[in-house]
Amino acid sequence: MDDALIDFNFDVEEQEDIFLTRKERIRRFFKRLFRNKLVLFSLIILIILVFLAIFAPWIVPEDPYRSVLQRRLQAPSWENLFGTDQQGRDMVSRVIMGSRVALYVGFLSVGIGLSIGGLLGLISGYFGKMLDTIIMRTMDVIMSFPWLLLVITVVSILGTGITNAMLAISITLIPQYARLVRSVVVSVREQDFVQGAEALGASHLRIIFIHIAPHTAAHVIILSTINLGKAILAEAGLGYLGLGVQPPTPSWGMMISSGQNYLLVNPYLSIILGIAVMLVVISLNIFGDGLRDALDPKL
């Protein structure tokens, strides 16, 4: 029997990581995550953004609703760092307040779309047959609507407002997650380790959530980082059409669209918000990539 024994040749560094405590392993995870400095940078931007959104009312230099008509459409200056809008309101304050709407819509709609769509995808891919057909054809129906039309329909049924806009956007995201997750599940469930788990007597729930769901994580993270950006832009689009946030509440989308009318007089209005949206979306994408790589045990 002893000839069958194979000794491991661990190198010193690896020998250590087996005996790590939980705390040390968490530290190692962050070390892996921040191996790429861009990831760290994007996380800092996101943290600042969340911080601004949460504490917006206490941070803003002045009331974002106070309009001083004498200083309409001014370029950035020391008094108003981002300039002022068509009603003479301070843009710094409005951008900061507007981040609340962006994050609320972005995270919640992606969160709802992901949980419902992901769950449907898992069920559909795992159980297959009739259930799969019913779920996926329903998703096809939702997908076959142009998203804007669907959102307009939902908003006109539920009424305008930020929460309804967010719900409407999340409905358009559900089929995307359902399809993506289903496709991964279908390929993973045919692998032998799933049958192995079945041979051990594992329940459906256990197989779905412990053996199959983790394999969808990488794909879901990537789709979510893309969708977060899209959702923020969608909110902007809805604001533009007057279906989202109602004025005078500041929202990035609405501000971009109203700034557009003054593009020749004061281009900073749209440019600054465009930069803000871009920063958030790029940060989310970079951070998502980093997170995916850090979570993959093979890398």
Binding site: M1, I18, D192, F193, G196, A199, L200, G201, K298
Partner: protein, 334 residues
């Protein structure tokens, strides 16, 4: 080595079959057309019957596409059989519900062919091996940990491998993890589905030896599936030869190797390489590929490639008949 794990002989009684398979059939339907009608069937396993006695190692051989794997997985109800009856340890398990089956899952395990796809790449070795213990609620957390360490040690892996991921191991080591997982619940019966086909020759011997040692130590009953008669000869007491979903011949290992009756068995045996370049022997080469299991030949399924087939082979389906006690064949000509 027997000190590392308690020897277990649940059923030393070897007169009674532990597993009895009667007319097991698995057809995979082919869907086609507008309304996904069933337009045909892949006849992977066609009405095979055999039994395995307690403590026995039975080899199952046949080339690719002969239905060995399907048969092995159907036995464990990992694939639902189309028809037939499987009796395990006196209980008919063919139609048990998932919940009722769970009890028998502890008694029957499987080791897969390809260890890189049969172990979850996102789980650590300790969770892979310990999963069955968790599912069946065996022991406290610490007892489970001890058991995992013992099992890993028994299959020749150090306890430091517990916290590692599967991709950090070589093929042979992965197959040991796979074996440890199957052993975790102390099963009576293990289906080894081509456990060494994906491994290097040098590693194959180690894994086969390990299985043999474990067999005596734990009193296991094994169904050892392989496409290589050489490996099967070494480990099995009885051998089942399959071709295109049917059993061609069943015999004790020695008898089969010295006295093959079925022309297909002869062909398989003559394909075993002999490490002696001066030795001349008549090679029986089976021409062509295995026919499609969607439209298997009429009569005897082997007739299209058989060197001694005659017209009546196409008309009469040969049944398994006894040649001598314990030696069965399905051939009209022999």
């Amino acid at each position: 080595m027997s000190t590392t794990a308690p020897a277990k002989h649940k059923h030393s009684d070897s007169s009674r079959p532990l597993l009895e398979v009667t007319d097991l059939r698995k057809y995979f339907p082919i869907k086609g057309g507008v309304f996904s009608r069933t337009v045909g069937n892949v006849k992977a396993v066609q009405d095979i019957s055999f039994s395995i006695f307690s403590g026995e190692v039975v080899g199952m051989v046949g080339e690719s596409g002969s239905g060995k794997t399907t048969a092995g997985r159907s036995l464990l109800r990992l694939i639902e059989p189309t028809a037939g009856k499987i009796v395990f340890d006196g209980t008919d398990i063919t139609n048990l519900s998932r919940k009722e089956m769970s009890r028998y899952r502890r008694e029957m395990q499987i080791v897969f062919q390809d260890p890189s796809s049969s172990l979850n790449p996102r789980m650590r070795v300790e969770n892979i091996v310990g999963e069955a213990l968790k599912i069946h609620n065996i022991g406290t957390k610490n007892e489970q940990k001890d058991r995992i360490a013992t099992l890993l040690k028994r299959v020749g892996l150090s306890s430091s491998s517990m916290r590692r991921f599967v991709h950090e191991f070589s093929g042979g080591q992965r197959q040991r993890i796979s074996i440890a997982r199957a052993l975790a619940v102390n099963p009576q019966f293990i289906v080894a589905d081509e456990p060494v086909s994906a491994l290097d020759v040098s590693i194959q011997a180690q894994v086969v030896n390990l299985l043999q040692d474990l067999k005596t130590e734990y009193g296991l009953t094994l169904l050892f599936i392989a496409h290589d008669l050489g490996v099967v000869e070494y480990i099995s007491k009885r051998v089942i030869v399959m071709y295109l979903g049917k059993i061609m011949e069943i015999a004790d290992g020695k008898e089969l190797y010295q006295n093959p009756v079925h022309p297909y068995t002869e062909a398989l045996l003559s394909a075993i390489p002999i490490p002696d370049p001066t030795l001349k022997r008549e090679k029986i080469i089976v021409k062509g590929d295995i026919p499609s299991p969607i439209n298997p030949p009429t009569g005897c399924v082997f007739r299209t490639r058989c060197p001694i087939a005659v017209r009546e082979c196409a008309e009469i389906i040969p049944q398994l008949e006894e040649v001598s006690p314990g030696h069965l064949k399905a051939c009209l000509r022999r």
